[in-house]
Symmetry: C2
């Protein structure tokens, strides 16, 4: 009888074991799904580009036979982080001008440097440099607005990163296109080109209301909806932007966009610092997401977005480091998490404001919701894309272990990220970016730096 039972048990094991490409295990697995659970000694099974299963390590090991496995032991396994706002190639302008007033920064440094240096070569190497930094600090998806966006898309794909990418539409001559009309045409082509890419989500990206005509804004939203693409736009970043909107249109930037019907079905506002309750109700109604950029808003002295109240109004808020040239100067989502939590507490004078789990959500599933991509990324759930990271917890700053969310937000660093998988492919293994030639990227970054320096003198 006993032997019979054993045979049956073995058979059921053999019957149940499905094939998988990878099993990844870690001391703590944080799915960021609706259950809010943390799985002790957990595992994720991956097949192709997708997550097959998630659960206790013993259960996953029993149910799946992987081709390969990665057992990380003292680590947290969580969804890859989602950067909802940046300007990646500006990595090459990092540190050329800091601690300056916005106008001086833009007019004396950034605009001249961009006018003289930004071309396909600059954008390509700048994107590779940025992607290396983003992946090494745990970002798997990033959202970008810059120029030569098709080159950015190619470089992003080369790195194996996921990108929501939009060519900046702006009412003055840009390094690639000279008019918004030209840029709209190019954007349509860009979207058609990358529409079915596994990694790239092409977007429409009008810069802001103060740099575009009403007609351009309307055409941008129309194009986005027609192509079923997201629309990315800076909104209410500075007080001046708001004051000017009220002076000119007698309403806020959000209300102005709404009045123009220049809001697409999938719209993401970057910053939203100076928005108010009226704006939030429009944003909630129109399913507009927000990219909160605490580093940038602090460093440029733009102000503090009322994140807690925006979220309470039913708006999904993600996090973004913004560009690294003056407004940050890095792409580190762990720092944005830490800052978002602390900035909300001190500005509301309430230490309970924006607790750690909410902030991890903003960097993952809520960021995905802000981009309306929550059905495919942002949490570890069967059927979703296999975008995941491991974070080591065996170093002094990680000990002792108590609340996993508090560890992620307040104690762990981007540099604790050990491995990164995007769309089922390892892009970082044990802190080495395996999808690009780092010495070559570093060499080009230094060469371009010398050109930028020379161009400013």
């Amino acid at each position: 009888m006993r032997a019979c039972c054993l045979i049956l048990a073995s058979l059921s094991l053999v019957w149940a074991a499905e094939p998988a490409d990878w099993i990844v295990t870690a001391r703590f697995v944080v799915p960021m799904d609706l259950s809010k659970r943390v799985i002790d000694n957990g595992a994720v099974a991956v097949r192709g580009k997708l997550i097959l299963a998630i659960g206790a390590r013993a259960d996953i090991d029993r149910s799946y036979t992987p081709k390969k496995r990665l057992d990380r032991g003292e680590a947290i396994l969580l969804p890859g982080l989602i950067n909802t706002h940046t300007h990646a190639p500006m990595s090459l302008l990092r540190g050329i001008a800091d601690d300056l007033r916005l106008q001086d920064w833009l007019e004396k440094y950034i605009f001249p440097a961009e006018a003289k240096n930004v071309n396909r070569d600059f954008v390509r190497w700048g994107t590779l440099l940025a992607c290396a930094e983003m992946m090494l600090s745990g970002t798997t998806t990033y959202t970008d607005m810059y120029y030569f966006e098709d080159t950015i898309a190619e470089a992003t794909r080369q790195c194996g990163m996921r990108g929501v990418l939009g060519e900046t539409i702006i009412g003055f001559p840009a390094p690639d296109y000279k008019t918004p009309a030209e840029t709209l045409v190019a954007t349509r082509k860009f979207i058609a080109q990358f529409k079915n890419d596994a990694l790239i989500v092409p977007a429409v990206a009008p810069h802001a209301i103060y740099t575009n005509s009403a007609e351009t804004l309307q055409a941008a939203a129309k194009l986005a909806d027609e192509m079923d693409a997201p629309m990315l736009i800076h909104v209410s970043e500075t007080k001046k932007e708001n004051d000017d909107a009220f002076a000119k249109y007698k309403m806020s930037p959000t209300a102005y966009l709404n009045s123009l019907n220049a809001i697409a079905r999938r719209t993401l506002f970057a910053h939203a610092v100076w928005t108010d309750a009226g704006d939030w109700s429009i944003m909630a109604r129109r399913h507009i997401g927000v990219a909160h950029c605490p580093s940038s808003n602090m460093k440029l002295a733009s102000g503090v977005a009322p994140v807690e109240r925006i979220r309470r109004a039913g708006v999904a808020v993600g996090l973004g480091p913004d560009g690294p040239a003056g407004s940050n100067n890095d792409f580190n989502m762990f720092e944005e998490m830490d800052l978002a939590a602390k900035l909300s507490k001190v500005t509301t004078m309430n230490p309970e404001s924006l607790p750690a789990r909410d902030v991890v959500a903003m960097a993952t599933i809520e960021g995905a919701r802000a981009l309306q991509m929550e059905s495919s990324i942002g949490s570890l759930e069967p059927g979703k894309r296999a975008d995941l990271i491991t974070v080591r917890i065996d170093q002094p700053n990680a000990l002792p272990w108590h609340d996993v969310y508090a560890m992620l937000v307040y104690a762990l660093k981007g540099s604790d990220v050990r491995d990164v998988m995007i769309d089922g492919r390892w892009t970082v293994v044990d802190r080495h970016v395996v999808t690009l030639d780092w010495p070559e990227v570093a060499r080009h970054a230094k060469q371009i730096r010398a050109q930028v320096e020379a161009s400013l003198h």
Copy 2:
């Protein structure tokens, strides 16, 4: 004639070359001395515990013959960072309670956890854990207020770190001493014991005005001056502390201490969030330094110290991470630098506020001035203690190189610290702490975590 010149040149080389223990070289050397220079391809020569010389690599190589050398190439070499306020052994309570109101945090978690767990063993392992983390993120001197401070001093010495350490004097029973009178007696003994130590600066540390009687505060200041020791005290951390002082004494905490003559010759105020112009003039006149703790003040929603105005009043301001249990939760001076700069900008709505070089100064030479230790630490100058760090600049977040100070504050991380020398001894080499047994520390941290967890249920 030509041969003769060559012989003479060789002879002068031989004559001039003085012995040194170490030559350390790096792409950029940042002395933080009055010259404000950055030395391209620089070097530092060290003999015994002291800096012998600093300058261009070629000059140092010509003038000194070292026993050993460390050529770090793509790195910044700068003075070790000075943490002016923390509670090191609280590392073991990291993450037990976050995102809570101060009273809940203290009364439901910290006080019970401390009452049940803090003993010599806890303090010893907590200090070693903290020192490992501090050194790995570039701190060479730290300032501490906790219990069993003599055990903290022994552990700090064991790690090879420099510590300004004071036993907390507080008007209720502490884990070691039961009354302020007992603690004052113990402090006198503690100071006598460590007075001539190369690494430890023993201090007198009354907790705050609201936890000590006027008599205790006066006795503490008197003891500090008598023993020529620094006095460390929390001042104006919260609005409540200030409101209570005005209600009770009709004056600010600073004015109250001044009225009691309870300010020692060397006094350091931690926090100073709610101080005003009247306080700053007292602080400047009495040479009181400030430990600015941006992370802690944000996370606990204490408020924002008006750092720019305090410094403009002539007060030296250093940086501190505060304790890692709820108020931070780490000991990372790179994050405090980044936060200090950004917090000052957004709260003054001026992006020029607290520029990068000022912030690096606060973390080094100005921190030393706040502690009145600028004659021995805080900058790389001949005759000063050899406390120095190297920071790698060959990773994605470091490229391209422009302003070295902006790199240090806004782009480089604690994890980019590669080597640490304290008092002429290497304590971290290539990111390995060589002065302690890390697996043993980690094992004890985990054991104590289990005890703490059990004690709270």
